[in-house]
């Protein structure tokens, strides 16, 4: 009893002597949750989607090129004489939901996607160890009927045949300022396949990561593993490695990859050649962001 009284006495008296730490008088901070940001420099690792979204109100203009094979030597300027292209526009409808549209030269394809962040990794004020997003993409080839890869004169050209969809979960963690790892398990659904024994749904998983070398330069790598027995042996898994270089409003992604297509169906199910066979191409993505709308702006 006596001890309790003494303790109570000590507690009531002590604040008076805590003059040195004025801020301590306010007690614990009730700061709101702070979410992890910048797991990757941009919304794509290389070909595949990263953990990042464009922020609310931000438009991201992306131009991507994949060149010819490096091993073609000087006569084809190490592949740089030819290029596949994709032009895309991504927009953040909210901080969690982004949508995008793109056009590729590859099979004259239009692609669109929506990506929604369900879980956001937390730095402080909350407890969430990972970021998790869901991604849905669709692509439509606009080739003339006789140019379609599956063209035969006797088959009717249904519009639905030209469509494919991809569903993925993007899940990962920024382990430190420098190091991020993510997995994208998912399925590509092709409305039409060229051979009867090929499945329409292609199950795959990708592993990707980045290591930040300096504040503005990071090294990224990404591998898409298609579960065996689903694709014609002609088609290989996609492997890409490269650098992200950020300069204010631009991100330059310079990389080497064995894929030419720049939308999900193309690089997951239609990559030809492996690194071991020398089927390596140089490529780049350039991202330029524009703030169209500032949701945080407060009336002064």
């Amino acid at each position: 009893m006596l001890r309790i009284a003494l303790l109570a006495c000590a507690v009531t008296v002590s604040p008076v002597f805590a003059q040195d730490d004025l801020l301590g008088l306010l007690g614990e901070e009730e700061a709101g949750p702070v979410y992890t940001n910048a797991s990757f420099k941009t919304t794509r690792v290389i070909n595949g989607h990263s953990l990042e979204n464009t922020a609310h109100g931000v438009l991201d203009f992306k131009i991507s090129h994949r060149f010819g094979l490096l091993n073609q030597g000087i006569k084809n300027f190490y592949g740089l004489d030819e290029a596949e292209m994709r032009i895309g526009l991504d927009y953040g409808l909210t901080d969690r939901l982004m949508v995008g549209l793109g056009r590729s030269g590859y099979q004259k394809t239009v692609d669109g996607f929506a990506k929604y962040k369900i879980l956001k990794q937390c730095d402080s004020g909350c407890e969430m160890p990972i970021t998790l997003a869901v991604l849905a993409t669709s692509s439509i080839t606009t080739l003339q009927q006789q140019d379609l890869p599956w063209y035969t004169p006797d088959i009717t050209d249904y519009f639905t045949h030209r469509i494919s969809h991809t569903f993925q979960v993007v899940v990962g963690r920024k382990f430190s300022e420098r190091f991020t790892v993510q997995l994208n398990p998912g399925v590509v659904h092709r409305n039409l396949v060229t051979r009867a024994d090929e499945p329409n749904d292609v199950i795959h998983i990708s592993g990707a990561g980045r290591i930040k070398l300096t504040k503005r330069v990071a090294i990224n790598a990404e591998y898409f593993y298609v579960l065996p027995g689903q694709l014609d042996p002609l088609y290989k898994n996609s492997l890409s490695m490269g650098f992200d270089i950020e300069t204010g409003g631009h991100v330059f992604q310079l990389h080497f990859t064995n894929s030419t297509g720049m939308f999900e169906r193309a690089f997951i199910t239609e990559t030809q050649g492996t690194w071991r066979d020398g089927a390596i191409r140089y490529g780049f993505n350039i991202s330029r962001v524009f703030t169209l709308h500032n949701p945080k702006k407060k009336p002064e």
Binding site: L2, T12, K296, K297
Partner: protein
């Protein structure tokens, strides 16, 4: 419980109360605080103007001794452009390593007694400003305003040079970021 022990307890309690009251009676602590202070910084160059607002500044001021302290959460600075905010934290302020800027110093030129009546009091502020883990002495002027209702407001303006605090600005953006940032402080203090 016997009466003798209870007696000891009571007298102890009295001493205890007396002890904790005495300093208040002697010094009449006049302390003011807020968790919603507003700090703005502004960078002007011919290329662009950059402005960021932090409305979650924590500060305590002891008007009796003049001692004042600030804690400013770096991630709470809001920019017009989301990417600018990300780069501010990631590339310039290293806000995961240095989450807060702090100021510890003294306000002189106004007494606790002055704050009892309405008026505008010019003050001098001196102390140590720590940004990006690097401390620098700061001396500036400020204003304390007491309005008719007795509300106490404080404001100040001073310049901060990023390079003084070890904040590197690479050549490519050198033209877009001012050498001196204008920092504006506006506080609505509440009595503690």
């Amino acid at each position: 419980m016997n009466t003798e022990k209870q007696g000891t307890m009571n007298s102890l309690k009295n001493i205890c109360i007396a002890l904790s009251m005495a300093p208040m009676a002697l010094m009449a602590q006049e302390r003011f605080a807020t968790r919603n202070g507003h700090i703005t910084f502004f960078s002007h160059t011919s290329m662009e103007d950059i402005e960021a607002h932090n409305r979650k500044v924590t500060t305590v001021w002891d008007a009796t001794t003049g001692a004042v302290e600030f804690a400013v959460l770096i991630k709470a600075f809001e920019f017009e452009k989301a990417l600018m905010q990300e780069h501010f934290n990631e590339n310039y302020m290293d806000s995961n390593t240095f989450p807060k800027a702090t100021f510890k110093g003294k306000i002189s030129g106004v007494s606790a007694a002055d704050l009892k009546k309405a008026g505008t009091y010019p003050v001098d502020v001196t102390g140590e400003l720590t940004i990006h883990g690097v401390a620098k002495p700061v001396t500036t002027k400020g204003t304390i305003t007491v309005d008719a209702s007795g509300a106490v407001k404080a404001s100040s303006e001073f310049d901060v040079k990023p390079e003084d605090h070890g904040i590197e600005i690479p050549g490519v953006v050198r033209k877009n970021i001012a050498e001196r940032m204008k920092v504006t402080v506006a506080l609505d203090y509440a009595k503690m």
